[in-house]
Assembly symmetry: none
Homo-oligomer: 307 residues x 2
DNA sequence: GCCGCGCCGAAAATATCTTTCAGGGTGTGA
DNA sequence: TCACACCCTGAAAGATATTTTCGGCGCGGC
């Protein structure tokens, strides 16, 4: 984190320290075939690849040096040299730290205890990857925009719609004006009302959901500050986003649809946004939170025991 | 050239992985003045040195490249390149080792990066705790009931309402008849329709939410199989629950409302239920999942590039 | 004071990494 | 169906980084 370059234009993208496996999964879909081979080799055996030179890795993956360098660039490093360094770090972490654990997928005949263990592990992994890959500069910018917004609209459909609602509920609790839209038509008609100083947030894992992109585009063109929460930082939705917050993409499969693991990462991002805003507006947020808690008290029955 | 084979027979010592600081101290007495300066710099700030080239490190220590290489050799590495790799690994290890220090609560003035780390850590903890505390027998029973249910009603209000909707969405996707109720009146009027063989699920963290307990009670009294997903296994809601699924309760505080961490555990339970049911009804669930995926395809825009 | 020993750094030699450029494949539009 | 354009891909040239070589210089012994 203390990297030398203070540089800093728009998106310097800090070289991932240990969020590499996550980044590979996140960016893999936007890679060409050859680059995917390289990325796969790297994610598969960080230690082994760290011991290889560009030429070695190129030969191993049956590609050329140029492709290896290109892949390193795509992953956010200045060149292969730095990727190799990060790889060595990752290898060390893996060796010393946690066990590789359960790498297998969920099978149809897995006992229920295994299902629990695998799902829990997977979601933990998603959280760790998302946290590691989250661009705190973008996050801070989004928080600032939210904290000062006149109103905030959040777009999401399907599973992401629930995440949108979750964010809205939280923001309302601290006194902010927020609304979640899952109806594409209403979303667009509302987006037209937005103006500079307002905030629009689109939540979509694939980044290609037209029903969510469209209102964000409208909001963007009306001058609102736009934020995209997506698992694909190069997807269409980011075209209209001032700030992009990337969630991790975990393995998915037949019994484990994308919606399941993506949701976990999205919720973490949403929580971060919420806490960030609550910090910024603490004087107003704290009493608002207390008040909303108080207001619900009478709807709870006394517990048999306990506090 | 020598990169490939570790060569052989009488290799005196494999490159130290992390025992570098110790090695420096051990070998320091046998070093020349210049080499000591290099070794000291390396032991002092592995991360910083890993970012430097031979020339950079030589300048930093006021020595020459040759000396740096000689030092690397003395420490047991083939050359500076490999020392640097080990250094990067060491730095990564040190950094990750520092991570568990985030046991403290989120403060108002925490930098955003800390917020992300703390939230992620907390939610991971919640997942681990929930997975560990989940009664697989109860879970299996609930899955069996769900898989054979004529219809399923899920009750939840507030943040838990979103979890209820999440479960409903999933069950619908695999062809089960499910409905989420967050309106207490409608929930009760629907609960009256339930009969043996049907399933009712109540989701409430505190276990004391009257709006959720009431419909579950009605369902229970009408002979439906009832399930409670709650953080308090001894709370009122469990009175009317045939099966109780316990979620973990993480720390909460002013800036971290209960809704945030409880939701994570609830979603894990919901995911487990879903996967469990999908396993049991695989022959019907798999094509249903595929179909729902297919149905959405045309609502996605093409990504900028693809595999 | 002279000599030998070995540490030290500048510069050459080599390996490694990066960039450039042109060939080839793929999908698209006519 | 054919032609076009785009973009992936790898070979080789160009730039950096690392390693080796070699001669100077200080230090202690005689």
């Amino acid at each position: 984190m203390k990297e030398i370059f203070a540089g800093g234009g728009s998106a310097p993208a800090p070289p991932a320290p240990a969020a590499l496996a996550a980044k590979v999964r996140t960016l893999a879909p936007s890679m060409t075939r050859s680059m995917q081979r390289v990325a796969e080799a790297v994610a598969d055996d960080p230690a082994g690849c760290a011991a290889l030179t560009v030429t070695g890795l190129a030969e191993l993956t049956g590609t050329s040096e140029a492709t290896v360098v290109r892949t390193a660039r795509l992953l956010g490093y200045p060149g292969y040299r730095d990727l190799r360094l990060a790889l060595a770090g990752l290898a060390a972490q893996q060796q010393s730290g946690r066990a590789p654990a359960i790498t297998t997928d969920i099978a149809v005949d897995d006992p229920i205890a295994d299902v629990v263990a695998k799902l829990a592990y997977d979601e933990q992994q998603t959280l760790a990857d998302t946290a590691a890959g989250l661009d705190t500069v973008q996050l801070a910018a989004a928080v600032t925009a939210l904290a000062g917004a006149r109103r905030t609209d959040v777009y999401g459909v399907g599973a992401s719609g629930l995440v949108a609602q979750d964010l809205t509920q939280k923001l309302l609790r601290i006194g902010l004006l927020a609304h979640a839209h899952s109806d594409p038509h209403l979303a667009v008609t509302n987006a037209v009302q937005l103006r500079p100083g307002d905030v629009a947030i689109a939540i979509t894992h694939s980044g290609t959901t037209g029903d969510v992109i469209e209102p964000l585009r409208v909001a963007f063109e009306h001058g609102a500050t736009t934020v995209a929460v997506t698992g694909r930082p190069d997807s269409p939705v980011t075209q209209y986003a001032d700030h992009v917050l990337t969630t991790s993409t975990a393995r998915e499969s037949e019994l484990r649809p994308a919606a399941m693991s993506s949701r976990t990462g999205q919720l973490l991002v949403v929580d971060c946004l919420f806490v960030g805003v609550a910090q910024r507006t603490y004087d107003a947020a704290a009493p608002a939170l207390a008040a909303s808690y108080e207001a619900l008290a009478h709807r709870h029955r006394a517990a048999r025991r306990g506090p």
